[in-house]
């Protein structure tokens, strides 16, 4: 099983390091051929405007969309913005793979970035997790089919549906790899169900 990390721009190396600590085989994805070899994909943090531009320019936009209809994708921060169905006051296109509404840079600029505890619920277990929020977006609305996996001060900050997982914070910057572990299990389960 191979997990791809979109390596167009952003903190893809941090995700790769985390996955490697979990003995997971990884591939940095820069084009369609790379994507075809993957069972799951991470869209890392970075700049959402830049990522959308570059995905379209290099003909990856449609391929990532189709990938997400069948296989598992995890988006963090900018990755979450790309996956969301709707964005508040925004002209940016999205892949529309998870039924949430997102507001970009909702906490403010870099001086408003912060680290605080997120309450996770993974596999029916409650966990505390160090949430690193960098120019983070907010999830302002969650559709019926979407499950909330993490909350910060009662608001949803990590969500999933059948194929897609997304967080507004950066688990790849925290030493605890339980969220990536959860993602790998989701990839494994989905690829097993397909075969």
């Amino acid at each position: 099983m191979t997990t791809g990390i979109l390596a167009i721009q952003g903190d893809f190396e941090k995700h790769q390091q985390t996955l490697e600590t979990l003995n997971c085989s990884t591939l940095l994805v820069k084009d369609k051929n790379h994507l075809q070899q993957c069972d799951g994909l991470i869209i890392p943090g970075g700049e959402s405007t830049t990522l959308v531009n570059l995905l379209k320019k290099h003909g990856l936009w449609q391929s990532v969309h189709e990938f997400g209809l069948q296989k598992t994708i995890f988006g963090t921060c900018a990755g979450l913005i790309l996956l969301a169905n709707r964005l508040v006051h925004n002209r940016l296109d999205s892949l529309s793979l998870i039924d949430i509404t997102v507001e970009r840079n909702a906490y403010g600029r870099q001086i408003d970035s912060f680290i605080d505890t997120v309450d996770l619920q993974l596999n029916h277990k409650k966990l505390n997790f160090e949430g690193v929020f960098i120019r983070a977006p907010k999830i302002v609305d969650v559709g019926k089919e979407v499950k909330v996996l993490g909350r910060y001060q009662q608001s949803p900050v990590m969500v999933e549906n059948e194929h897609i997982m997304a967080s507004t914070f950066h688990p790849e910057i925290t030493a605890d790899s339980c969220i990536h572990q959860y993602f790998i299990e989701k990839v494994r389960k989905n690829s097993h169900d397909r075969s």
């Binding site: 721009q9 700049e47 959402s48 830049t50 531009n53 290099h58 001086i111 960098i134």
Partner: protein
């Protein structure tokens, strides 16, 4: 210090900017062109380095009105420059809400002995360096991102290459040191043991390492990425060229796909005239910016 929460947030933003291009802009229109071309951040300036070089005189922090106008128009991070050691300019930039401050040798230094104590700020700083010692002194002062200096406003890549090679060979040397050699090394480089230990164990800097000063073509960007830069700053190279929009897009593509030589060749076609440039070797000592700071 390296592992505290404050540093984690600052380095975190630098991590998000990896694999991209940061462009110098002087107007909201240029900022929009940069964002649409795929820049990961813009550096809001009153004058770009080539203009500063041509104009002479004292170069200071930009007019806050220009910075605010640029912040309004783009959603990507906005950076701005303060003079070396001018902590009041830095305080002002933090009050304006810029996302990153560049304590830059491109502006006229305000303090010949002390750089800004960057640990006192909530906003992250990027600083220039010519070699490993300079890089690590800036990290010890709290810089969350290092960029090699190059020679800004020349369009000549030679200094950028020299500085990047010097930093990379410094990293390799420290990585090979024994535990018993670290204190003497810390003394000679003027940095902390904690930082040297990190490099000795990990074989890389504790903060990202970008490249600046002289990038003018897609091939320049690919060269710097192959030499170990994790993102490139492009100053005068874009908006001093004949077709900035096209060149900006081409440099972004070449940075992302720096090992895909067919693609770099393709985007390099018909870009129009690059910036005219100044050959580094012909600059007089007073004209050199990289020697500012220590």
């Amino acid at each position: 210090m390296l592992l505290d929460k404050d540093m984690k947030l600052k380095i975190g933003l630098a991590e998000m900017l990896k694999g991209g291009v940061i462009m110098d802009v002087t107007t909201p229109e240029h900022a929009k062109i940069a964002e649409d071309a795929g820049a990961v951040a813009v550096m809001a300036l009153e004058r770009i380095p080539a203009q500063i070089r041509a104009d002479g005189g004292v170069a200071r922090m930009s007019d806050p009105a220009i910075i605010k106008a640029i912040q309004k128009i783009v959603s990507i991070p906005v950076m701005a420059k303060c003079r070396i050691g001018h902590f009041a300019e830095a305080q002002l930039l933090q009050a304006l809400g810029v996302d990153f401050i560049d304590e830059s040798e491109v502006l006229t230094p305000a303090d010949e002995e002390h750089h800004v104590d960057k640990t006192k700020f909530k906003v992250p700083f990027v600083c220039g360096c010519r070699n490993i010692g300079e890089a690590l002194r800036r990290v010890a002062e709290g810089a969350a991102l290092i960029r090699t200096k190059g020679e800004a406003g020349t369009g000549d890549i030679v200094e950028a290459v020299r500085h990047m090679r010097a930093v990379q060979s410094g990293i390799k040397r420290i990585h090979s040191l024994g535990d018993d050699e670290l204190i003497a090394e810390a003394k000679s480089l003027g940095t902390s043991l904690e930082i040297l230990k990190y490099i000795q164990q990990n074989g890389k800097l504790p903060v990202p390492n970008f490249s600046a000063g002289g990038v003018a073509t897609p091939a320049d960007a690919s060269l710097m990425m192959q030499l170990g830069a994790e993102t490139v700053f492009v100053g005068s190279g874009i908006f001093m060229s004949k077709e900035p929009e096209k060149r900006a897009k081409a440099i972004v593509s070449a940075t992302t796909h720096y090992m895909d030589f067919d693609l770099v060749a393709k985007v390099s076609e018909n870009l129009g005239e690059p910036m005219v440039g100044r050959e580094n070797a012909r600059l007089s000592e007073e004209e050199r910016l990289a020697g500012r700071g220590w």
